[in-house]
Symmetry: C2
Subunit: 171 residues, 2 copies
Amino acid sequence: MEEVGFAHFSAREVAKRIGYSIGTIYNVFGSYDALILAINGRTLALWRDYLERRLEQSQGDRLGHAIEAYFEFAAKHRHAWAAIYDFRLPEDLSPPETYQAQVRAIFDIVVAEVRAALPASRKGEAEALTRSLLATVHGHCVFAMNGTFAMLGEREPARAVLDRVREAVAP
Amino acid sequence: MEEVGFAHFSAREVAKRIGYSIGTIYNVFGSYDALILAINGRTLALWRDYLERRLEQSQGDRLGHAIEAYFEFAAKHRHAWAAIYDFRLPEDLSPPETYQAQVRAIFDIVVAEVRAALPASRKGEAEALTRSLLATVHGHCVFAMNGTFAMLGEREPARAVLDRVREAVAP
DNA sequence: TAAAATAATTGAACGCCGATCAATTATGCG
DNA sequence: CGCATAATTGATCGGCGTTCAATTATTTTA
């Protein structure tokens, strides 16, 4: 996935590379979708690790570093990161609970940082604000990675989104 | 595309439905990618029309209505809208100039609204701010459509993003 | 109008894909 | 060892994007 991206990824190629047959892939994962979900789950775990490590190193401006971590991870793992959003389960299904838990784990890390950055009087907004700020950062990251920002002349996406986040968190 | 979505879309099915053979599709469009680009270009045109019509009807709170238009169009044309972002050209290619022009045309419409909403002292920021706000709205729309917001308990994505936009435009 | 030149259309063929499953091979156990 | 259970295989299927020689339709020319 990391190498070829979601569009050119194939279960057959996975089987070839690990020295098993296509049948074994299906015995282990059950379906193509489940294989993708397993890979995306692993990417989420890597993402969370990356974010946590980046915050450990941080001394001040933790929110700024969290945003940098978002952009850095997406850039370092373009294809794997994009696959998380390129893949969509059939409309009537929800991701497995373990997958949802991984999304929430990343969310919880960011909530803590947003809450810490908020003045005491606004800490109650932390969760709702974090959902909105994650979407904000994500939107900027998507436009940075897919060329939309380049098309529109934006050269400092991370700087732009940091402005948005500071506005929203400012007392 | 509108019906089956990017993942299940196929040039063969297009040929079948319009009563031509697969070969003719390739004679006309040249490649699968070019066919997708033609469809996405058409979607951009529809999107622009929708936005313009929605703004014509608007009496006050034009930015709010532009955001509503973003969400409404994405919801009404889920698959076609998603296909704009699901499709990625080979990394070394840029979209054709006509396609880029359509993206900029939508951008220009929004710039005018953002500029009008900004106080005189900040009108110089209009373009940069619009890029950032488009990304912000897009991020919220993506999370609304792909289930991320549902997973995190967000029930009013349009309301949340309106708060972000108002913060950013406020004098 | 008839013949020739040009344009448009076709669909079989290729290699790849996800998915299935009867047949085979490997493993563990009494 | 013999047997039961588990793991693995890959041929097979229908569908995909892509190509291109062959065919059909249209236009131009004589």
